[in-house]
Symmetry: C2
Subunit: 190 residues, 2 copies
DNA sequence: CAAGGTTTTGTCAATCATGACAATATGCCT
DNA sequence: AGGCATATTGTCATGATTGACAAAACCTTG
């Protein structure tokens, strides 16, 4: 979309905050109002691929074999994700102060909430006795998401880590979670 | 504060969304800009007591006996909270459609994040070997917060529950968490 | 091609929110 | 009281965001 390109170019040239939504619209040859019909907010241009990524994750999760333990499924889906180098570069740019940290954290919270919801849905579909266990399911889904994002934020707080390090940390976190859930004999798939 | 009173009155009289920030400022005899110096946003008037509540929780947590298991401390702090009838009434008003559910959820996320942070800080202070366990600590704190708020939202989704029911649900959730953490021998206080 | 319906865009007008700087008020010191 | 230092408020200007409704573009079918 033209708006997307215009925004990306302007952001790169003069920074995100120094670029007004109106400039973007103008450069793309449309009205300001039209810009806001395509993106819920100026900053959402940066996270435009997000929805498709979320869909990808949902499908990957749904495609896991039936008997697999939950945490293993989540792990598999997360690590199979076709990470977009572009997106990662963008994230790196954020860390380099292009963007208010508050905003990044805010966005991460949304992503975390969506991840949690995806896991919850997955469980609702897979568990035989889902109906009577809504609370267990919600708590489990959210805890897993919280643990993963906690891990990511601990990782982000240190400056000298590679993506591989993050993967290692995530694995460790997931292992611990799996042990905890397993002990209670909970959350194996149908 | 006069602003607070003005806002509350107007909100009650004509609803939150139908009240503009300017009206509030005017009724309180100040400028719009001044209103925004006292409240970060129009809706934050509704959550004005929030900070003091958070402080209360932090202190309650810090005051728990040294050897107590983490989950027990969190439980004790939460259930000892001097719940403000006013605030609960307000929450009821929210549920009665005064306010966009999105906004309520957004606020809950902030509260959840703060609760998680409070727990994390508590652990940092109490654990002997906190230095080398940042990841464990963050993951634990966030998981507990996520579980509690997941419980609350499951509760909120049903219309026929009492506050006592919420308390029961929370207890059950905390018990499960405690069992899980205990199994791994983690997170006992110094 | 034309009529009629659907989708997308433009226009207009509010409101929300915030930075910069001037004007004022307030408390405290002598 | 007089006068500075600090905190609070007013003014002005700009940008973000959104609802309502008109106008234009596009599509489908006869």
């Amino acid at each position: 979309m033209a708006l997307r390109r215009a925004a990306t170019e302007l952001f790169a040239a003069q920074g995100v905050e120094a670029t007004s939504a109106e400039q973007i619209a103008e450069r793309a040859g449309v009205t300001l109002r039209t810009f806001y019909r395509h993106f819920p907010s100026k900053h959402d241009v940066l996270f435009a691929d997000y929805d498709s990524g979320l869909q990808w994750f949902r499908k990957a999760l749904a495609a896991r074999p039936a008997g697999e333990p939950l945490v293993a499924s989540v792990r598999a889906a997360i690590f199979a994700f076709p990470y977009d180098v572009q997106a990662i570069t963008q994230m790196a740019a954020f860390r380099a102060e292009q963007l208010d940290p508050e905003r990044i954290v805010g966005h991460l919270r949304l992503v975390e909430a969506d991840l949690a919801e995806a896991i919850v849905e997955h469980l609702e579909h897979r568990l035989e006795d889902a109906a009577g266990r809504r609370l267990d399911i919600v708590v489990t889904g959210r805890s897993i998401a919280a643990a993963l994002f906690g891990t990511m934020e601990v990782w982000m707080a240190a400056d000298d880590r590679s993506l591989g390090d993050l993967a290692d940390l995530s694995h460790a976190t997931l292992d611990a979670l799996e042990a905890g859930l397993d002990e209670q004999g909970m959350f194996r798939h149908r």
